[in-house]
């Protein structure tokens, strides 16, 4: 059993009269500890695939299993719980609750998990320290740079130890230097905590960090290769 099993997934969007075939039969297995990049041109289905794995959207046909749970077979409530406990998300931008400080944003997930206040503050501080933001813990997102915001989002995604972190173009809104630093951070967490990451990108520099590169094209897997990562320092 793999951590994530995507089996023969087809996803069609009905857009008015037209049907858009966003994914046309995708088969992927991902193991714990992988650091996978999903690459491909715009419109190739990267976001669609990540959303399906994260249980944000439903497949047209095929199956997706995360940690041996078949997503299409569970209730909306159960899906929400899966996202809370097993899956971390990092989006391209606007990841954070603007009214909460960095620290509170990280605490938010733990609050949903009913972690006691003391414990969650301690853990949130610890994680912010790990992503190098302890001085900015009390700032609100609008007072943080794009890179800092993404780090907070990564911190929030990993704080409760999910099985996998899904990041949809996490560096797309960052300059290359800042993007590289974020990737360094993710890779370090991947190595030190054995945290599984799947991130999408169309930036070759970002792909360099991956240990596995899946290329999508027109909704199908064109290539899938293990490779050497440009290891973080």
């Amino acid at each position: 059993m793999s951590l994530i099993e995507v089996h023969n997934v087809i996803k069609n969007y009905i857009d008015g009269k037209n049907t858009v075939e966003a994914l046309r039969g995708v088969d992927i297995k991902i193991e714990t500890g992988e650091f996978t990049a999903i690459a491909g041109p715009s419109g190739s289905g990267k976001t669609t695939l990540l959303n399906l794995i994260g249980g944000l959207d439903t497949v047209t046909s095929g199956t997706i299993k995360v940690d041996d749970v078949e997503l299409s077979a569970v209730s909306i409530r159960r899906l929400s719980e899966m996202r809370l406990h097993k899956i971390g998300f990092v989006f391209q931008s606007y990841n954070l609750m603007p009214v909460l400080s960095a620290l509170e944003n990280v605490e938010f997930t733990m609050m949903l998990q009913s972690v006691p206040k003391r414990e969650r503050t301690r853990r949130a501080k610890e994680i912010l320290d790990k992503v190098g933001l302890s001085e900015h813990a009390h700032r609100r997102p609008p007072a943080l740079s794009g890179g800092q915001q993404q780090r907070v989002a990564v911190a929030r995604a990993i704080v409760s130890g999910p099985a996998v972190v899904l990041a949809d173009e996490p560096t797309a809104n960052l300059d290359s230097g800042t993007g590289a630093k974020l990737l360094d951070l993710m890779r370090t967490l991947n190595k030190t905590e054995n945290m599984t990451f799947i991130f999408s990108t169309h930036d070759p520099m970002v792909m360099d960090y991956a240990t596995r590169l899946i290329q999508l094209h027109d909704g199908a897997v064109r290539s899938d290769e293990m490779k050497n990562s440009k290891t973080a320092g």
Binding site: L56, L84, I87, L96, M97, V99, L100, L112
Partner: protein, 407 residues
């Protein structure tokens, strides 16, 4: 943390929140003011009647209330006098002889209510002595004087110093008749009353009607209108074998109690309109604020926030708003009512209308704790009820659809 988020969220668009707050506050002040006004108005209305003629309570001979003829008279016993003197709630009482009769001037005759009084006692229970337009109130030493209502004087074309002949049925069935000299003209402000009422000395009435020392009623004024029922109950208990009827103003004036009940019901409709206006304000503001935050809700759902937490957060936002509005609105509304409760609200400008509704010109507004509880709870209910739709709508979005909304 959710409460904190809700609190912070409502201040993301301070202008909108303040406008919403203002509209709820204005509505609430309006509702509380109306409540106070209605209460003040009814009290003025009741007070007017009580202080003109009715008193808080009356003791009467059996059947007199139903059929006010002199055969249904009463006698004042020692027991009654003792009770009147000792009951703690009674502040004043007066005996009266009240009968229907005919008042005639040189010009014409009119059917009137002839009320025989003891001037000194009557002063304590009614405002008639203070309502003199011209001339003087009755004097116990001046036999066969009469005071008459101003409109009645006009109709009879009579006036101070002139003669008025009263005629009424005696206890034996004969017609008693005596001439009286107009000593004063009164105006209570109620044309209906003044047009048909004359006052003479009780002793004159008793003589004219061959009534000896009988009377028709004892009118009682209490220290507080709220004690009416309890005092009436004590009266019934103390005077149980005296063959008397004890009636509170509520029983004497059933139309007043009825009309209070009815207008309270119709006020509910007015309040409902106020609340509905509030409700749409809340609905509108919430839908707008949620519309601006769809992406954020998408993120919340993506990271595992359940639908119920999202609903709860939105409800908390409107509860926060309602709380602020209720605190400010109630404070303002109650201050306004209290202000007009102390200084009185002078409606002399609308005197004609006020006469029509039989109330005094100055209203003293007040609200009860139950009024405030009603206004407050209803505000919260409206806030919560009308947040449900936007909250459910937000929580039922699919995370993918919510996330696609950028910004």
């Amino acid at each position: 943390m959710l409460l904190r988020m809700a609190w912070l969220n409502i201040w993301r668009n301070p202008k909108r929140t303040i406008i919403l707050l203002c509209s709820i506050i204005v509505g609430l002040v309006g509702i509380i003011f109306l409540m106070g006004f209605i209460r003040g108005w009814f009290d003025a209305m009741i007070n007017k009647t009580i202080r003109t003629y009715e008193g808080h309570m009356k003791i009467m001979g059996p059947g007199y209330n139903e059929n006010p003829i002199i055969e249904n008279h009463m006698r004042v016993t020692e027991k009654t006098q003792e009770w009147l003197a000792t009951d703690p709630a009674i502040s004043a009482s007066a005996e009266r002889v009240a009968v229907q009769g005919l008042a005639s001037s040189a010009h014409r005759s009119m059917i009137v209510k002839i009320i025989g009084i003891d001037p000194a006692n009557e002063r304590n229970v009614s405002v008639i002595a203070d309502s003199m337009r011209s001339g003087k109130f009755l004097d116990p030493d001046e036999r066969n004087s009469i005071i008459i209502g101003e409109p009645l004087a006009d109709k009879l074309k009579t006036g101070l110093g002139k003669r008025v002949v009263l005629m009424s049925q005696q206890l034996g069935g004969q017609i008693g008749s005596e001439a009286f000299k107009v000593k004063g003209v009164f105006n209570t402000g109620s044309t209906a009353y003044d047009e048909h009422t004359v006052y003479i000395l009780k002793s004159d009435a008793q003589r004219m009607l061959e009534f000896h020392n009988r009377i028709t009623e004892i009118v009682i004024l209490l220290d507080n209108i709220g004690n009416s029922d309890a005092t009436a109950a004590r009266a019934v208990a103390s005077l149980d074998n005296e063959n008397l009827e004890v009636l509170t103003w509520k029983e004497r004036l059933p139309f007043v109690t009825k009309s209070i009940e009815m207008s309270n019901k119709s006020m509910l409709f007015v309040y409902a309109v106020f609340y509905l206006a509030m409700a749409f304000g809340i609905l509108n503001a919430l839908l707008m604020s949620i519309g601006e935050r769809i992406h954020e809700f998408g993120v919340m759902m993506a990271i595992g926030t359940s639908r119920s937490i999202i609903v709860l957060m939105i409800l908390l936002e409107s509860v926060c708003i309602a709380t602020i509005a209720v605190v400010i609105g109630t404070a303002l509304g109650v201050s306004l009512v209290n202000f007009f409760g102390k200084t009185g609200m002078d409606l002399s400008a609308f005197a004609e209308a006020m006469e029509y509704i039989q109330a005094e010109n100055v209203l003293y507004l007040y609200v009860t704790p139950s009024d405030i509880a009603f206004a407050t709870i209803a505000t919260f209910l409206v806030a919560i009820l009308f947040s449900f739709y936007p909250a459910m709508k937000a929580s039922r979005m699919r995370p993918v659809d919510a996330l696609r909304k950028t910004g």
